[in-house]
């Protein structure tokens, strides 16, 4: 049971800051529930009391009409409860939504901060955007936790004793039976439904992921699919994965339907119990019937929610794991002061991404003096990007040291390190925002003149100028609306705007045609004057003005011609 409830409870624990709103939502929700129950109660009571005459007013009727003060007040009370119920239900919707909005927003921000603190080098760095996207879906999936599980549970906790006392006033056996059934419907059945759903939620998530990959593979591989005449095969594979997903969902739907029917039956059995007692406790039975109908209706959704709790719980677990994971490379507890100079030195660095993968660097020795311009060449896949990751401490070497201005970067604060080194990576992201805001990411107070200068340097200014809204043009998700090459150039302009003294440009010319590439590299010689430039590439064009060229090969850096 804990495997399902645990993660959900921990997510709820995250909502402490919103507890005021959550409690208010619960109180209003209880009041609305109370008015609904009261309405049914009085509706029944009004009949009975009138019918039975004032001779033997029974306890529940008295209870129900106590507020009205007089038996004659029943119609008035009815009207009051009726309109009160409508108003309270309205307030209930408003407050529970306001509370959920707050809770969800808090969860998002907490999640963002958590990932930002631990995963600069892991998630998001190596094509893991889709993993993150799935996690975002998980966060969104927790929106029903408060309204669908928490509030009804609180209502049930209050209702159970109310039922027991109200019915117990005139018939202990009936109270016992109905309360037992209510506890079954509100607590036992949902718990029973939740048991084992963790595995079901997991298998459904896996089936969905498999289908998503099959679809994405087919569509991004359309040229291959057409060239190899694989249309039928690919369609069949998508259909097969879909059938698996549907089977998992069908099993889930059956579970939900079964427990839903169970909850309905429990409520109906309670009504049947009341009816069976009807001739023995006539007046009470009439009131009880209305009361029972309303009470079971209030908790009717819990069994279904329980059957789906596994999915929510699996989502909660992934969210918690991601946000609370330890940092890949933790900040030192007492960071050293930032060095005054910024010579970047690699000393006997040995590195691989995972213990079961081959080494990227076996013995890397490299020293880059401030203000020098160097190129790092090497075949694709050799780990040229790993060098940037190491310098930014997104990954840690197995052995050896990396020094900035003579200080081991392991002792420096990450934020300070990031401020010194600007990196244009292969996965640099363009945000769904204006061009201006995208450019200002690295230096928020750059003026338009500086922005245009950077755009000129990146050879994209003309394209931006041609846009009707210029710098205020909105870039779609992932920089859509611009071609890949243009997007890279915008990212490059952003990197050039950074005040960092060290620039690492990872294949900055990918996506540029040959003429633009030479043009760009020529400009680079001017704009980055005075800064250290590390150009990572698989070949040179010949126009670069460089102080040194290193060739990476066999896990070591070899000096090439200057």
């Amino acid at each position: 049971m804990n495997e399902v409830a645990g993660p959900l409870l921990r997510v709820i624990g995250r909502w402490r800051g919103q507890s005021g709103w959550l409690v208010l939502g619960a109180v209003v929700s209880l009041a609305a529930l109370g008015s609904a129950i009261g309405l049914m109660l009085v509706a029944g009571a009004a009949l009975t009391v009138r019918r039975g005459g004032a001779a033997v007013p029974h306890p529940i009727a008295l209870l129900a009409l106590a507020a009205g003060g007089s038996l004659l007040a029943a119609p008035l009370l009815l009207r009051a409860l009726g309109s009160g119920r409508v108003v309270l239900r309205y307030l209930d919707r408003l407050t529970s939504h306001a509370a959920t909005f707050r809770a969800l927003a808090a969860l998002r921000v907490w999640f963002f901060r958590g990932l930002a603190a631990n995963s600069a080098g892991g998630l998001g760095f190596r094509h893991a955007g889709d993993v993150l996207a799935r996690l975002v879906g998980d966060v969104e999936a927790l929106d029903g936790l408060y309204v669908r599980i928490l509030l009804p549970l609180i209502g049930a906790l209050v209702l159970a004793p109310v039922l027991a006392v109200a019915l117990g006033l005139f018939s202990i056996p009936l109270a016992a039976i109905v309360t037992a059934l209510f506890v079954l419907a509100a607590f036992v059945l949902p718990l029973r439904a939740a048991r084992g759903t963790a595995a079901a939620g997991q298998s459904q998530a896996e089936a969905a992921a498999a289908l998503r990959i099959a679809i994405l593979d087919t569509l991004s591989g359309l040229p291959e699919v057409r060239a190899f005449g694989a249309e039928g095969r690919m369609l069949a594979s998508v259909q097969a994965r879909e059938a698996q997903l549907l089977a998992a969902q069908r099993a889930q739907a059956r579970r939900v339907a079964t427990f839903g029917a169970g909850a309905l039956l429990l409520g109906q059995v309670a009504v049947l119990a009341v009816l069976t007692m009807a001739t023995r406790h006539p007046s009470a039975a009439i009131v009880a019937a209305f009361l029972v109908v309303a009470a079971f209706e209030a908790v009717g959704g819990l069994a279904r929610a329980g059957a789906l709790a596994g999915q929510a719980s699996a989502a909660a677990r992934r969210v918690l794991e991601a946000a609370e994971a330890p940092a890949v490379v933790a900040d030192p507890p007492h960071p050293a002061p930032m060095p005054a100079t910024h010579t970047l030195t690699f000393e006997a660095v040995r590195f691989r991404w995972q213990p079961d993968l081959p080494y990227v660097f076996e013995q890397l020795d490299l020293s880059i003096a401030p203000g020098t311009r160097i190129a790092l060449l090497g075949p694709s896949g050799i780990g040229k990007s790993s060098l940037a990751a190491l310098a930014l401490r997104l990954a840690a070497p197995e052995s050896g040291r990396i020094l900035l201005g003579g200080t081991d970067i392991a002792t420096l604060p990450a934020a300070g390190l990031h401020a010194r080194i600007a990196w244009l990576s292969q996965t640099t992201h363009l945000f769904a925002d204006t061009i201006r805001n995208n450019l200002r990411l690295c230096c928020p107070d750059a003026d338009d003149a500086m922005l245009w200068q950077a755009l000129e340097a990146a050879r994209i200014a003309d394209a931006v100028r041609a846009l009707p809204e210029g710098l205020d043009t909105w870039l779609g998700e992932g920089g859509a609306g611009f071609s890949g090459g243009q997007g890279r150039r915008l990212a490059l302009a952003r990197t050039l705007l950074s005040p960092a003294p060290i620039l690492i440009l990872d294949e900055p010319c990918a996506g540029l045609d040959a003429a633009t590439e030479r043009d760009f590299l020529t400009t680079l010689n001017e704009v980055a004057a005075g800064r250290t430039v590390i150009l990572i590439a698989h070949r040179l064009t010949g126009v670069e003005r460089l102080d040194r060229i290193w060739r990476l090969s066999g896990g070591v850096a070899v000096a090439a011609a200057a």
């Binding site: 119609p75 409508v86 929106d143 309204v147 994405l216 593979d217 406790h281 990411l441 998700e477």
Partner: protein, 635 residues
Amino acid sequence: MAVHVVAVCGSAFHSMNAPSPPVSPSPATSSAEPGRSAALARAWLRAETRRAGRTTRWPILTGLVAVAAGALQAVLAGAVLARALAALAAALHPPPPIRFPLAGAPAAPAIPALGITAYGQAAAGLPPPPPPHTALWVLLGGFLLAMLVRAAANYASERFAFAAGATARRHLRSDAMARLLAAGPAVLAGQHSGALAAIVMDRIELLDGYFARYLPARTLALVGPALILLVALALDPFAALVLALAGALVPFGMALAGIGAKRATERQFAALSRLQVRFLDRMRGLSTIILAGRAEAEAAALQTAAGDLRRRTMRVLRVAFLSASILDLAAAAALVVLAIHYAQVLAPAGAPAKGVAPAAALGVLLLVAEFFAPLRSLASVYQDGIHARSAAAELIALPPAPPEPVARTVRNVAAQGISVAFEHVNLTRDAARGAVLSDLSFRIPAGETLVLVGPSGSGKSTVIETLLGFHRPQSGRVTLNGADLSDVVPAALSRLTAWVGQRPKLFAGTIAENIRFARPEASEQEVTAAARAAHVSDFAEALPAGLGTRIGEGGFGLSGGQAQRIAIARAFLRNAPLLLLDEPTAHLDPASEALVLDSLRRLAVGRTVILASHSAAAYEFSGRRLHLAAGRVAA
């Protein structure tokens, strides 16, 4: 249809079981011609609704059985409770004290067999009442039976609803995939494959709610209350009148409260999903944000955006929820009016004019909840309807299946030795950018090599892609062994060709599976041989599981050169007579390039080869050279 106006925002949130909300309405795309695209979406949904009619019939029918069983339960429970009432009255006033007459009470002829009228007859002072001829246990048994039927019908209705949703999704997904597959690589020119995949995966999942929940609920919200109304009419016409009025109040009141609110609500849904898009976007770019030192600023901005949106959303919801309250108001009003009415009718001293059997009165009161239940169900799935329209708009935007080539006479092309000829071919892909190929003519005899050289944009790739069937020339002829390309069915064409492009696609799976993609029926030995010939084995042996290493999504990341060698292994395995090489070394470093070229030279032996290249690779192949410039043969 009036029920459409039941625009209740039951909840602005997605239920936990519902698929995730649409996460892409970008501000740019949704604003274009909103009226027309909305009308198209509605028309499309209507057509799909008709098509799904057979599958959605079952959840509706079983749902109706459940409603009927619920009504029967209310009537029976009323009868039992009425007995209790009678017992109570008898205990208090031994002789029947009730004076209101009941001749012709509408309930009397309605359900006499159940003995519901027994009390009324007694009350009316008719001849001594026969003892109730329906024993209590019969009533209770009937209740039990109805309860079982109702639970079973509910269960069946949910199962049928799932089946309806599943059938619709299966059809829509296969249809969308088939359209995209038929349209081929051309669709990728305008749209990112990720966005297309999101449509095929998420939007179609989202439509499940429409077919499984919304459609049945919409019909049931009309038919269910009507059925209850008939039962109420049989019990007490006054009650039927009250319920009918209350029911009519629902769409009417909602129209009043909801006309403005509905549009605002939909806008707010869009704003909500924009916030989700923003969150998603910032998460995708998380490392960029961190490295720029902007994590804290972005977190704060995210919080502010969420707060702003919440305040604006709540303003809208304050109005939108009013329409939900109309439903509550109608239900409460009906209950209160009827309870007060019956309290007076049943009062010892009151209401001489008309009488209603207590059984009927109690039954009616219990029916009130049943009457509004289908309306509530519809309100709770209302957003499934909204989401369906946005999903529909995106599905419509997928390319229509292009017409099959008019196979005048499907030609068989000899499988050995292919000669290729372009005869005055003109091809324009994008009218704004002019012709890609203009009046291009050349000829390659079987078994020879043609090297296409020229700057990028000169049409080299287009020549190859035309031979692959990605594009269709506007005029001129492309022939294989003299047979017009447009007469060759795609499947036959693909059997004749092997292709190595600039950036091969690796599918999620093992290296061996990726090679086998070229020819699924190939034997283990053939795959291994192809891997060796293309130098795949060289690097695969260093990997944890050799050729069984998983690559692609979620697998081991290969370099560009390694991916290219897998593409060449595919071509080896394909063993087709026509080999098309499109800049196969464009993105490789010199060392990888040498390896790849070595494999390619061996692959080329004995085949007709067309190689497009602007690099040194061109000089590694002997053969005729064709210089292209702006889509024509350069002098």
